[in-house]
């Protein structure tokens, strides 16, 4: 056989150029924010650098962030895995609908979600108002760690839900049947057979949750939790000082590196390929008497994460319209949001494929590093990433600065790991022998990727693209600073109104954002049904 045939096969083999070259380009793009941060951090010299890093207050907020990330991640997994299983593997009534609804809290921007939560569950929020006749004067404080953690769990668990559910549906139930036929009950089978196979997907989702939590600013500022990202924003907002902000952001990158190392340990080395070519559709597990509690569980989570926020938005809209506020449906902004998010999703899916192939098929130091690098942009608060691209764009590529192109690039750098994680999980379920067979029949590496790898991994690729689409829809800092001038998206419309307390005007674009985002979510679920 020709040398190229071996290229795809063994871990010692060199990856083909169609894989490593694009992966290298992606890695270089990912280094941009890092380079910017290093340049800015050293603006005032090493002394200030170390003073900032070793400051007691800085370390305390860093600890706060770690605590928050740990709590949010564990709680998100605890909620999302049962939800994924219920909607993928049981006879839960309306499980397709539940699946869409349960994924939707992801599209609620944290600056909207946090605000709604405060106005609902605050000490004198609407819930207290409803309970007032019962003599409830005040609800317990939600500000601080409990409130911030609660809000973040609600708006991030869908990461774990989506990756886990995708993995469950790609899983061959043969092993589970074997376990059952050997006399194991359904619970032991779940824990000893199903769960280990889901581990890569759960860990991939959990990683996104942890890093999202570190980078988020909206929730922690509204719910008054003194986290690291808040400290970064305060440097820009109060002191107008970019140097300490950059130093803090570099520390966040370092923390991300630690989390990635932990993730690498947790992820496990095992590969779970399908044993046969075709995935059998598993028989749904009957819930029996658990049907009602299961419905209550799904309903409770979906109410908190979706129905209540959407309900409050409707309330704002109605209240505003009834006191004479004109109803403005922002179709133009909706179209901008959708088109730019679609571009970002497609570009991210394309960029993720070589990175994921490299990581799964050619494991090693270099490929591991490239894959980990994609997480840097994700763990950075949006404003930091946006300023990095402002710096490079304005000074080194003025022709591209503040164009759709650089905006899409910013989105890809920011959200790529979502696509990489999903693609990677899907590739793990494909046996390399299929690709090897095609190679041995003389197909070129590109041809193998296009005709074998991508189609087999398409569920993961689409899931990844959908995640990027949905998070791009609500992205704010990069959109404000890098879009072509005058470009308005749903997210910027919402922000424009809420930043000046025009709740009624914010409600229409916010609701439209949720509705428009539900469409790709719907297709994601429908696609699965075809299989």
């Amino acid at each position: 056989m020709a040398a190229t045939n071996k290229e795809f096969r063994k871990r010692s083999a060199r990856p083909p150029r169609v894989v490593w070259l694009p992966a290298l380009v992606v890695a270089l793009a990912m280094l941009m924010p890092l380079a910017y941060l290093v340049i800015r951090s050293l603006d005032s010299g090493w002394v200030e650098f170390f003073e900032t890093v070793l400051d007691g207050g800085t370390l305390a907020v860093l600890a706060n962030s770690i605590v928050l990330a740990a709590i949010v991640t564990s709680a998100a997994v605890a909620i999302a895995v049962p939800l994924a299983w219920l909607t993928a593997r049981t006879d839960l009534p309306g499980r397709k609908t539940w699946a869409i609804l349960a994924a939707l809290p992801l599209v609620i921007p944290s600056y909207v979600g946090g605000f709604v939560l405060v106005s609902t569950l605050g000490p004198r929020g609407s819930l207290q108002g409803a309970l007032e006749p019962l003599g409830v004067e005040r609800l317990p404080e939600i500000y601080g760690l409990p409130g911030a953690a609660f809000a973040l769990v609600l708006f991030t668990y869908p990461y774990v839900f989506l990756t886990t559910r995708a993995a469950l549906r790609g899983l061959d139930p043969a092993l589970e049947y074997a376990s059952r036929s050997l006399g194991r009950g359904s619970w032991p089978t779940f824990f000893s057979v199903t769960l280990p196979q889901l581990r890569p997907a759960i860990v991939a989702g959990a990683l996104l949750v942890a890093l999202y939590t570190l980078a988020d600013f909206g929730v922690v500022s509204l719910l008054q939790y003194d986290s690291f990202s808040r400290a970064i924003y305060l440097q820009y907002r109060s002191a107008f000082d970019r140097t300490p902000a950059a130093i803090l952001a570099l520390m966040l990158v370092a923390l991300t590196a630690v989390i990635l190392i932990i993730e690498a340990r947790t992820r496990g080395r095992a590969r779970y390929f399908q044993t046969s070519g075709a995935v059998r559709t598993p028989r749904p597990t009957p819930l029996g008497k658990w049907k009602i509690p299961a419905l209550a569980f799904c309903g409770g989570i979906v109410s908190l994460g979706l129905f209540i926020p959407a309900g409050i938005l409707v309330f704002w809209l109605v209240r505003g319209v009834s006191s004479g506020e004109p109803l403005r449906i922002v179709w133009g902004a909706a179209w901008s949001s959708v088109s730019v998010s679609a571009m970002a999703a497609a570009a991210a899916a394309l960029a993720a494929l070589p990175v994921a192939i490299l990581a799964v098929r050619f494991p090693g130091r270099a490929s591991g590093l490239v894959e980990r690098l994609t997480y840097v942009g994700y763990a950075l608060p949006g404003i930091v990433l946006a300023l990095a691209l402002v710096f490079f764009g304005a000074n080194y590529a003025p022709w591209a600065y503040q164009t759709t192109g650089i905006l899409v690039l910013a989105y890809v750098i920011h959200f790529l790991p979502q696509a990489v994680g999903a693609t990677r999980s899907a590739l793990l379920q494909i046996r390399p022998s299929v690709e090897e067979a095609a190679q041995s029949l003389g197909r070129s590496p590109l041809n193998v990727i296009a005709t074998i790898t991508a189609p087999l991994a398409q569920r993961g690729i689409f899931a990844g693209a959908a995640l990027v689409f949905l998070t791009t829809m609500k992205e704010l800092p990069a959109t404000l600073l890098l879009s072509p001038i005058g470009f308005t998206t749903l997210a910027t419309s919402v922000w424009n109104a809420t930043s000046e307390a025009f709740f009624a005007r914010a409600a229409a674009p916010a609701l439209l954002l949720i509705i428009v985002s539900a469409v790709p979510m719907y297709f994601l679920v429908i696609r699965e049904r075809e299989k």
Partner: protein, 377 residues
């Protein structure tokens, strides 16, 4: 085969992005549309796309050679909801093209600093003086001519003439109308350190307006007086909020009895939520720091190629029409004499602001340090 189609489709989308980027590139040079002002309703970007597609390049040279159809680029930290209409008025009257990038005041300041020499902006319109100071400190703002500065009282302009104050907002105490009447409120904001206010105060220490207030306090009451006040408020366990809006909402809901905010948020809340809104403004009667005036202002960037047009823009903003707009529509204080304000506002002439330069970053730094030391931040 299906997957090849899939990859093709993705590639085409990416190509589309690149193409749009190329168009945007030419647009950035000087073309574009004049509809930036109505950014709030999303119509502008469509016309921007169409126009840039239709006109392609060539616009730039045309504009430069004929001297017509000049286009101004404004970075605005003030929201489209607030200043979009007045910018549209300017476009209509001047026939000039104005493009506006809306964003957070501080983030836009950081953006201008990163852009440096290559900033496409002509004008920086900021929510507060501190941000203007940050940009001026790096020598990025030009000195404004007398005719732009003179309509506005000196105390509301940059001492070096690098930015002009455009509208003002007063610091007030918002109070929950169910819990309190105006008579029960103390004469001075300094009295809220009394233990009777334990657990009843809401504030937003991370907000620029409150920080400006603390700066003013350091000047009128001295460093120790300011420290005492911060410690006294802190001892009363105030509830911390994100900004003026959330503080006011919490006051109205009765989460806290009083909140330290800017005056004009109330009028918007009344507009949207009706007279039943549960909070009202109280202007501390001592007339000094409690009622500090903060300004929103604007300056022209050193890198601007359209200084004359930019000056015209700023001149319009401190002119009668625009000032009347701020008085009537955003419920702010006009900074030019002779413009009528709403009856509900305490007249500007009755509010004595201490002699401070709100754009002085050294002062701001001192304030942030003090707030950190007292555990407020």
């Amino acid at each position: 085969m299906r997957s090849i189609k899939l990859l093709m489709a993705m590639a085409m989308l990416v190509a589309l992005a690149a193409f749009t980027a190329a168009c945007g590139g030419t647009e950035e040079g000087g073309g574009g549309n004049g509809g930036g002002g109505d950014g709030g309703n999303g119509a502008s970007e469509e016309s921007a796309m169409e126009e840039s597609m239709a006109e392609e390049s060539g616009m730039e040279e045309e504009a430069a050679s004929s001297g017509e159809a000049e286009s101004l680029t404004v970075y605005s930290g003030r929201s489209a909801e607030l200043i979009g209409p007045v910018i549209d008025q300017f476009i209509e009257e001047s026939g000039m093209e104005v493009q506006v990038r809306y964003g957070d005041t501080a983030e836009l300041a950081a953006t201008i600093l990163e852009e440096g020499e290559n900033s496409p902006a002509d004008i920086y319109f900021a929510q507060d003086a501190g941000a203007l100071g940050a940009v001026a400190q790096e020598d990025l703002l030009t000195e404004l001519p007398e005719e732009v500065l003179s309509p506005v009282e000196d105390r509301f302009n940059s001492p070096d003439g690098e930015w002009v104050g455009i509208s003002g907002r007063a610091r007030v105490v918002s109070y929950n109308t169910e819990a309190l009447t105006e008579e029960e409120l103390p004469d001075s904001i300094l009295d809220f350190t009394d233990p009777e206010w334990e657990g009843r105060i809401g504030w937003a220490p991370t907000n620029g307006s409150l920080q400006a207030f603390v700066t003013a306090l350091r000047i009128t009451e001295g460093e120790d007086g300011a420290r005492e006040w911060l410690e006294g408020i802190q001892a009363n366990n105030p509830t911390v909020y994100e900004d003026n809006t959330t503080t006011l909402e919490a006051t109205a809901a009765g989460e806290v009895d009083v909140g330290f905010v800017n005056h004009y948020y109330l009028f918007r809340a009344l507009d949207e939520q009706g007279e039943g809104f549960g909070a009202r403004n109280y202007y501390p009667r001592d007339g000094d720091v409690g009622a500090l005036i903060n300004v929103a202002g604007a300056g022209i960037l050193q890198t601007s190629d359209n200084v004359e047009e930019a000056e015209q823009f700023l001149g319009y903003m401190v002119g009668e029409d625009a000032q009347q707009y701020f008085a009537d529509e955003t419920f702010e204080y006009p900074l030019v004499e002779g413009v009528e304000t709403s009856d509900e506002l305490v007249p500007l002439s009755e509010i004595e602001t201490p002699e401070i330069d709100l754009s002085n970053l050294d002062d701001l730094e001192g304030t942030l340090e003090l707030m950190e030391e007292t555990g407020v931040l």
